[in-house]
Amino acid sequence: MLVLIGVLLVIVGFAIRLNPLLVVTISGIVTALLGGMSPLEILNAFGSGFSSSRSVTIFVVVLPVIGLIERFGLQEQAKALIAKLARLTTGRVLLGYLVVRQITAALGLTSIGGHAQTVRPLVFPMAEGAALRRYGTVPDKVRERIKGHSAAADNVGVFFGEDVFVAVGSILLITTFVDTTYGLHLEPLQLAVWAIPTAICAFLIHGFRLLRLDRQLDKAVQEARADEETTHAAPAGGQA
């Protein structure tokens, strides 16, 4: 039970906003010591953990091409393109991306999207472009919300699309784990089929929220402008 102190350290560390790298490292060391590992075993675990998890840093390979096309105005072009399409609102742009992301992930094409590959260069500029067309300028607070929702559309789409595809990591993890531990013979396809109801629920819930997003942004923009007016009006009032 003592090892659970490590879990507690993670929660406390994040809560008091220490550098997450430091939190994770210290919690790892403390947990390992409480679990009776020797310093050499701990260093070995850090080393082999790093080398076996290099695949999660794969996003780095796409930074050069994304950086290059950004330099030549990709985001500006994406905004301009959306500005021409009058019926596209921020919510509808993101709903469209959610549909594409979920369907392609369900077909096993998870790497066709992603935060580095599509959200930064294309999805966010398009969602922002739609907002610019509607409001003229976008207050910082609203821009932040559009950013959050752009990343969220990618996450929801890929999480609840990919499990419908049979060869995805989580499906294979389930089958290998339960087959070896409990002697079952589960077929990946059986699991993938039962991921479909959740995929539909995820689409309905998140899609509904995205359709409501436009009205929420309308309100947020109005509020931000009202705030701005009162701060501008204040000195004038003081003079009178």
């Binding site: 090892v3 840093t57 096309i69 072009q77 393109l81 599509t118 929220r209």
Partner: protein
């Protein structure tokens, strides 16, 4: 055969190149700290090959990783704000190149998908050309190179190495968050080795009232959610909760259909992934990539989807898995 190690070497090479660029940048506010961080990270990617092949001791890499954490958490790492085009210049370029700008962006996924689909038939003699165990990673690496080449050919930057310079700009805005997903993955391994899973399983059994199906379903799904939040991914939570409740109580005790119980249980865990900073590559790296002021802004946008979806998963499991 192009195996996944060559992609890791490509990543390592990029980090070393960026470290070199930073070292040459006299205006960089954290020049030497930043350069050492990215350079050492690059070398770790090379050394990792030997660790995986068990030809070199892992503890050397362990020390290097701790040095990286020290560099990042003591403020020696910073954003050098490398020079790039201004917004006005970009608008002019956008007018000149128009929709041609999308070609490199689309080359990336298209090449990736083509290689993934062709991989099973691409063979030299009887040997596969692409590592069959990591097809997608290798395909993405090749897709990224192809897209950069196409980008340079279409946009004709004055310096042909412009993709490397511009890549550095994005990397520095991400900063230490680039290392976090790997560190979290390592933490998961340490937690497992230290026996956190067993401790948690004992706790979970203690809170479960016996004989109630709905209570067991709720504890399994909510447990998957909570441990995914704590450990950052559903894969780490699944063996713990399944050993504690999923198999002994739901499948053996209540005769649930194992495929339905496990599939929906995992998806309940994914709802937790939407809510946790521990899932750094989904929730913290994108907020750094998008240069958000609030690094938890992505999570804020996701919580209102995750909670109702968790309830939906509980209902789906309760009504579908037990007949």
């Amino acid at each position: 055969m192009i195996d996944v190690e060559s992609i890791y070497w490509l990543i390592g090479l990029l980090f070393v190149a960026w470290a070199f660029l930073i070292a040459r940048d006299a205006n960089h506010p954290r020049r030497w700290g930043s350069s050492s961080f990215w350079g050492l990270l690059g070398l770790c990617f090379f050394y990792g090959t030997a660790v995986e092949a068990k030809t070199a001791p892992a503890w050397v890499l362990g020390i290097a990783v701790l040095v990286l954490v020290a560099l990042a958490s003591t403020g020696l790492l910073g954003d050098g704000r490398s020079t790039t085009t201004t917004e006005e210049q970009r608008t002019v370029y956008a007018g000149r190149f128009g929709n041609k700008l999308f070609i490199p962006a689309l080359t990336l996924p298209v090449v990736t998908v083509i290689i993934v689909l062709l991989a099973p038939v691409l063979k030299i003699g009887s040997r596969p050309l692409i590592d069959p165990t990591h097809t997608t990673l290798v395909a993405l690496g090749i897709g990224a190179i192809a897209a950069a080449v196409v980008g340079v050919a279409i946009l004709r930057p004055r310096n042909k190495l412009a993709p490397v310079f511009e890549g550095r700009r994005i990397l520095e805005t991400i900063g230490w968050a680039a290392l976090l997903p790997q560190m979290l993955s390592t933490l998961g391994i340490l937690f497992t080795q230290a026996g956190v899973g067993t401790a948690v399983g004992t706790l979970a059994k203690g809170v479960l009232p016996s004989g109630s199906l709905i209570a067991a379903v709720v504890v399994y799904c909510v447990g998957m959610f909570i441990f995914t939040v704590l450990m950052g991914n559903g894969f780490a939570a699944f063996p713990i909760m399944t050993a504690a409740i999923g198999w002994p109580v739901l499948v053996q005790g209540f005769h649930g259909n194992p495929a339905i119980v496990f599939a929906i249980g995992m998806l309940a865990g994914f709802c937790g992934t939407l809510c946790t900073p521990m899932a750094a590559n989904f929730n913290l790296v994108p907020s750094a990539l998008l240069e958000m002021k609030n690094k938890y802004g992505v999570i804020t946008a996701q919580v209102a989807t995750a909670v109702p979806l968790l309830c939906a998963n509980i209902a789906l499991m309760y009504f579908l898995a037990f007949h």
